[in-house]
């Protein structure tokens, strides 16, 4: 496998020698996000990813025959800086932006790009409203939104488990309660099932038997839990000890090997959603190898999403045959492209189809992906 990469690399080198870059005429791509400060580790891998993809294109003779140039803008995840970065990007004449990283900063910057008709692809902004509000037709993302997990779990509960009564428990934290609230919203909207209990528990408690008794009394068909594995394992083992054998489904905070270790035999049959497994995707392996070769380290957060965003953008510009806003956004929504996070295209609202979560079940001490 490695030899092939070397061969491809050599080929690129030869090609780049054959076609001396058509200098002067460049396509400017903006990369905006947190490149310094506390959250720099969220933003810098994106810069690396876009650089790698751009280099690959430049070695091949560029995009539409032009050299790709990258302009970086540091917003430190702060909305007030993000608007400055956006204004600068627009005046520098970028044709598209990969970023921003944080949802708040992205939201602040988007109106400026919208006005200037510049497509924006974020690898990491997960706030659901960014796409779902329909306010930003120029916005796309290669990461699933915050409510994607809850949506998937609810679909699983309604279509596969065919539950009629659902009890929802959460840990009162941002993550757990957020997940639980979305789940409740989706169940109510669908109407096929009823939420019979919606309660928060205090994390770190020594005993959850009272709330388990309450669940038992409401006679639900399934229990949904939003939160992390320490509480999940306490609740699920108390449920099983009290003879409550109904399905238990939870989120990414529970899809952790520690959950299985701690809950032991009580973890069996528990469902939990988690990000799709991309570790076997050849493009992911290739992207990581490239990163190691060029930067000498393992890539950081959102690298795969950023790499995919860059591939999707360049592919769309190539397919559109120009950098015209309408043509590029149409191409982003029309053509599938193979990326490290899977084969993706963007839907009407700008979310990537084919990116996101799967439901897993604990079977014989392992998380097994369930297709449905």
């Amino acid at each position: 496998m490695k030899k092939i990469f070397v061969l491809i690399g050599a080929l690129f080198l030869v090609l780049s020698l054959l076609t001396p870059g058509s200098c002067g005429d460049v396509i400017k791509i903006g990369v905006a996000g947190s490149h310094s400060g506390d959250l720099a580790s969220y933003g810098l891998p994106t810069v690396n990813a876009v650089k790698l993809v751009a280099d690959n294109y430049n070695k091949k003779g560029g995009l539409l025959g032009k050299k790709v140039e990258i302009l970086t803008g540091d917003d430190q995840c702060k909305p007030e800086l993000a608007t400055n970065v956006a204004t600068k990007m627009v005046s520098d004449g970028v044709v598209a932006v990969i970023g921003h990283i944080c949802s708040g900063a992205t939201k602040a910057a988007l109106p400026i790009y919208k006005e200037a008709k510049i497509p924006v692809i974020s690898p990491s902004a997960t706030n659901p409203a960014l796409t779902q509000s329909g306010q930003y037709p120029n916005f796309f993302r290669t990461i699933a939104s915050d409510d994607a997990q809850a949506k998937l779990d609810v679909e699983f509960i309604l279509n596969v488990l065919k539950a009629k009564k659902v009890a929802i428990i959460h840990d009162k934290g941002d993550y757990g309660k957020g997940f639980a609230t979305y789940a409740k919203k989706f169940i109510k909207k669908d109407g096929r099932a009823k939420v019979v209990l919606f309660e928060g528990v205090t994390p770190g408690g020594v005993d959850y038997s009272a709330v388990v008794q309450k669940i038992k009394r409401k006679k639900p068909d399934v229990v949904v839990f939003g939160g992390y594995h320490p509480e999940a394992s306490k609740i699920v083992s108390t449920m099983r000890k009290k003879g409550l054998k109904i399905p238990f489904i939870s989120d990414d905070g529970v899809k952790d090997i520690t959950f299985i270790k701690v809950a032991g035999k009580y973890a069996e049959d528990v469902y939990a959603s988690g990000p799709k497994d991309i570790s076997k995707n050849p493009l992911h392996i290739k992207a990581v190898e490239e990163h190691k070769k060029v930067f000498g380290s393992d890539p950081g957060a959102f690298f795969d999403n950023a790499y995919s965003a860059a591939l999707a953008l360049f592919n769309a510009i190539e397919k559109a045959g120009s950098t015209d806003y309408d043509k590029v956004t149409k191409a982003l929504r029309t053509y599938y492209v193979d990326t490290p996070v899977g084969k993706i295209k963007f839907d009407k609202k700008g979310d990537a189809e084919g990116v996101g979560f799967s439901v897993y079940q604990v079977q014989n001490g392992k998380f097994v992906e369930i297709k449905f």
Binding site: D207, A210, V211, K234, K241, V262, G264
Partner: protein, 300 residues
């Protein structure tokens, strides 16, 4: 009505958990009027010791009952040694200084022990084995009371009785009461005050270790931080019942457990802690010394 009893028993077992730790708090406070914040950490160390010993014994192929007994004995000895040492290092040199100094020292000790276990063991949650065997005749009632719950309740009751006997009817108990009343006077009539205080810490820490073993098997997981949360709740229970009073700690624990359990069952678990602390405020308004606490006059 079944639901009422289910909640009653879950409150009872939760309350017994709080009471078991609260007993150690209240004993130390009763003797030297120090809120020993490191008590929760001693409980946590007890749980870790029992985990390690039971792991070794399981590999060696011991049966369940002997693992439970040996692990508990090991945890009690090890935790008692910690309690003894903590007192010698952190509290004894400060005896006679202002009341705040040992309190700060206790908080420091608590932070130190937490981080020590964090570094020496693991920052993650680790699984704690179910050391307590299933009790056959309890099985039909498992929706009310598991065998671990049952063992915790019975242990708390036994400890309560034994401590009361120790303090009321033995020579060392008499010395303890004397030390609690006035250390200088007790020393004048021939009580070895240092020794009595050490014994108090050893007994309190031993109780914490028993709590660690039982609660560890009940919850099924432990980490370096469990002592803090359990300690806060147990401290609340001790204050509720009247800090310094042995039966008060148990009563306080049970009242706290029932409040949380019925609050969760009939209203909402979102406000579990709110009920618990509202109750504490109410009781302290009407009985500032706690339910069973005696309002002692300021010593002259």
């Amino acid at each position: 009505m079944d639901y009422f009893f289910e909640l009653f028993f879950s409150g009872l077992s939760k309350g017994s958990i709080y009471a078991l730790i609260a007993l150690g708090y209240t004993m130390v406070y009763g003797i030297i009027e120090l809120i020993n914040f490191a008590h929760g950490e001693i409980y946590m160390i007890g749980a870790f010791t029992a985990l390690i010993i039971s792991g070794i014994l399981t590999i060696l192929g011991f049966n369940k009952i002997s693992i439970l007994i040996l692990a508990t004995i090991g945890a009690v000895i090890y935790s008692s040694a910690y309690g003894f040492t903590v007192e010698k290092i952190a509290y004894k040199p400060l005896r006679g200084s202002s009341r705040l100094s040992p309190l700060i020292s206790a908080i420091g000790m608590s932070i130190f022990l937490q981080n020590y276990v964090l570094l020496a063991q693991t920052p993650n949650f680790v699984s704690f084995p179910e050391l307590i065997p299933e009790i056959k005749w309890l099985e039909p009632y498992s929706s009310f009371l598991g065998s671990t719950d049952f063992v915790i309740i019975v242990t708390t009751a036994i400890v309560l009785v034994l401590l009361t006997i120790l303090i009321k009817f033995t020579k060392i108990g008499k010395a303890m009461r004397a030390t609690a009343q006035n250390q200088v006077m007790a020393a004048l009539v021939g009580v070895n005050v240092d020794k009595i205080i050490s014994v108090t810490f050893i007994i309190g820490s031993g109780l914490a270790a028993i709590g660690g073993v039982l609660i560890g098997s009940h919850v099924g997981q432990i980490n370096f931080y469990i002592g803090f949360i359990a300690g806060i709740k147990a401290f609340t229970a001790a204050v509720l019942g009247g800090i310094g009073s042995i039966p008060g700690a148990v009563l306080g624990g049970l009242v706290l457990g029932w409040t949380e359990s019925f609050g969760t069952g009939y209203i909402s678990s979102d406000y579990e802690d709110v009920f618990a602390f509202c109750l504490l405020v109410l009781i302290l308004i009407f009985r500032p010394a706690g339910i069973l606490g005696e309002s002692t006059q300021q010593k002259v």
